[in-house]
Symmetry: C2
Subunit: 490 residues, 2 copies
């Protein structure tokens, strides 16, 4: 089969785009910046949703649904929030179309809204406006609500999954009676995200907080998880914000505490999005295509029959159908690719491209020997396995592939994690083999901005429990107590 | 406890609204016509989604996601579709806000879109525009795709769940190589909806097709399920459309058939929405509140401890916690209402209002006797059950309540299903005890419209296999071969 992907080493960004399209994950739509998530891609997202939703419920959260539209005036209520969010947004100004005299349809000028509506870029404002009626007393707290929704941010440069005008996400919005409890919630949820990334996506992540520059608009602290992609750029995979009383004050949400005194409510918000699909793709895939972790693969095993005659096909199909029943019993998801229109070689390449963790092939010889050819996607290794050992082999592989792709990603990250003591070294790393760079920083916004201007690298995170170590800022030479983590990022 | 609901008999529509609000299902938001679905209501919707999604997958469908926005010009492409849909829509005209000189923010006039975007009222157009690139040959068919999404229709008069500007739904969009196959798909899906309504919602439904007047804009046949609410009005619960080649022609979607000839693709679309929440509420509830079918209740059992002292509470809690483990083992979902801030009477009323199928109470006497007080929500009957019989009793009740509320709804429908042979009788029924009316109709649009004008009743459906019976149209006296079903409707 002809090569379908651009080589990763040749043009990483083209490789990524080819992969998303060719593996049937997503494509651009007729609407600028909005993507279509295709069935194969969507089924991975559904698996992510199911696992995350279970984790949220396990930690006491419930789901709800808030409006898609937000009145324009709501954005002005939280001063820093409006700066960060309300600018590049889709704005609804009219509510009716009419037949045009020139043919076709046109906006009816008589149907202008009194106040424009913003398609939500995030829902803090409309949710906190709602919480005002839900929260009266400390007995109503904590309020632990999550929403699965679509949001829109009018991005100028978009890339499938990584940055799109419309994307799918979940946004948790919690309300608490104390600062301490809200801080604990924000930390708990970043840890939930980290577990999900590591145990399911198979991606090692660093946990920390954002510098003021990179913080969420309206937050007093932003916790984040950051992963390293195969091109040495960092990808922010999830954030959790401690919002203090900012939104409670903006929307006048108070509660009566146990002493019967009024206080403003403390808040958090946290979210992950279809961007995780981008992380999943970039963290593990190779020049043959996608490499999916068994825990999130739409199906874990594909079975390809090899035959010349219809008779052979019939015989083999009987055995494959028996196997399918055994797979079902063992909770291994599978697809029997019995298309007669394609040859085995084509099928092998297609399922490699789509990242199916294990491929099983069976030809007339395997049939006679009562064996199967088993190929794992992560290492591309093949072996012949006897029928009686097949299930235990597959159970082993599901676990081993999941661990192996995590280990590979962790090894890669380790090989691309540096400490830089001078600005020269710092720039040199970024120009040659970029990755995470631990470096001293004087703690000022100005220095961070200068470094960004000159190198495009930003502070990805401030470690949660940094190793204390006296040092000098790589840029200004001013004293610093610990290193922070820089990288170029998506 | 004071009465929280308006009596159903006194003001049905107020009763409904009270119930939605007081049972914590949903509320109006700050955005006109858009609702907030509260956690308790949303958890019922989640259960509906899970069951339906399973049924769709069982019948070979996969999920995908298409853009929220649709370019205005797309609506003009299918002539009858634009008439039915593109008028009362949210229109996005701008993509940026800016700081206003007067303070606050305003729409940036420089950020006007070249072509306005419509917030999807339904997705046929954007999906068929996408399918053009997905379908080349008969091998790509059938394409069986579903989407879970939010849609917006700018309704003037809105009612929680029943008619809201934004609502949640699923929309299936399938593509087929033959008319026959598309027709079978449309019928298959209306039957899936009917099974769901009857087996899960506990609502008996009639299955049939719509008259031309009531048909979906762009469809050649609309299948529907209709249920009767307790006020004698019909509620359309789901529709499935045979779209023929209309959208394929509008968006130029052709395939090469087995004879290597180009043909237009055949289509269906089908959907149910959060409107089903309205149906669920109105079909079963009473003046004490919601009555939920056990298969869709957020929790099936609530346990209320009755105690005076902390000691009693501790003792009882130990026994309740043991019970909780047994419930878990038997897959019965539950809530232990151990709030100390509320009295048992308050809790009883609250869980009745929220429709929990079974309430279990335990006081010191029950503790000593090793018994439980079990109350079922549908009949409000109470009985004392020994501990050893409890689980089997609950298993029985889950099944029995599910069946009983269906039976009650079916009995009600039967008592409100009439045949009318004269227009006088017809009007009389509508004015006294409305319901479904089987009547002869001459098959013309004009007659249907006149009857609607004069009585507000419409043809809810034409039965799929009507009993052939020569008769005369109740309005014009012209000959008719079978009766159709009229009702006033939501």
């Amino acid at each position: 089969m002809a090569k379908v992907l651009t080589d990763r080493e040749e043009n990483y960004s083209q490789w990524y785009n080819d992969l998303v399209l060719k593996a049937d994950l997503a494509e651009n739509s007729a609407v600028r910046g909005c993507m279509v998530i295709k069935p194969y891609g969507y089924s991975i997202w559904e698996k992510m949703q199911a696992v995350l939703d279970g984790m949220f419920k396990e930690t006491g959260h419930v789901n709800a649904y808030f409006p898609l539209f937000i009145p324009k005036s709501f954005f002005s209520k939280e001063a820093s929030h409006v700066e960060g969010f309300a600018k590049e947004c889709a704005v609804v100004t009219h509510y009716r179309l009419r037949n045009s005299e020139k043919g076709g349809i046109e906006v009816d000028p008589d149907a202008k809204l009194e106040e424009e509506l913003i398609v939500r870029p995030t829902s803090e404002t409309i949710i906190w406006n709602t919480y005002r009626n839900w929260i009266k007393s400390y007995r109503d707290l904590p309020l632990l609500v999550n929403q699965w929704a679509n949001v829109v941010r009018w991005e100028m440069r978009t890339r499938l999954f990584l940055r799109t005008a419309e994307f799918l996400w979940q946004e948790g919005h919690t309300a608490h009676s104390s600062k301490q409890e809200a801080l604990e919630e924000a930390e708990k949820m970043i840890n939930v995200y980290a577990s999900f990334a590591q145990e399911y996506l198979g991606i090692p992540v660093l946990i920390g907080t954002k510098s003021e520059n990179e913080r969420f608009a309206g937050a007093e602290e932003t916790y984040c998880i950051e992963a390293l992609m195969q091109d040495g750029k960092a990808l922010q995979c999830g954030t959790s914000h401690f919002l203090a009383q900012n939104f409670a004050k903006a929307f006048d949400v108070k509660f009566l505490n146990k002493e019967n005194k009024e206080e403003y409510v403390w808040a958090t918000s946290w979210g992950v999005s279809t961007r995780l699909m981008g992380a999943l793709i970039m963290a593990h895939s190779d020049n043959n295509g996608l490499v999916l972790p068994p825990k999130l693969a739409p199906f874990q095993v594909v079975i390809v029959p090899i035959y010349k005659t219809e008779e052979e096909f019939d015989k083999i199909s009987v055995r494959v159908n028996e196997l399918c029943n055994r797979l079902k019993e063992n909770s291994i998801s599978y697809k029997f690719d019995n298309r007669d229109s394609q040859r085995p070689g084509f099928k092998f390449a297609e399922w490699e491209l789509k990242g199916v963790p294990v491929r099983i092939a069976i030809g007339p010889k395997d049939y006679d020997n009562n064996t199967w050819e088993v190929a794992r996607r992560d290492t591309l290794e093949k072996e012949i396995v006897s029928d009686e050992n097949l299930i235990s082999k597959l159970v082993f592989l599901m676990d081993d592939i999941q661990k192996n792709i995590f280990r590979k990603a962790a090894d890669f990250r380790e090989s691309r994690t540096y400490t830089a003591d001078t600005y020269e070294d710092f720039k040199d790393i970024l120009n040659t083999k970029p990755g995470f760079i631990l470096a001293h920083w004087d703690g000022t916004k100005e220095t961070e901005e200068k470094i960004k201007e000159e190198t495009k690298a930003t502070i990805r995170l401030i470690p949660q429990n940094p190793v204390l170590e006296a040092g000098k800022c790589i840029y200004t030479g001013k004293p610093s107590k610990y290193r922070v983590i820089f990288a170029k990022s998506y």
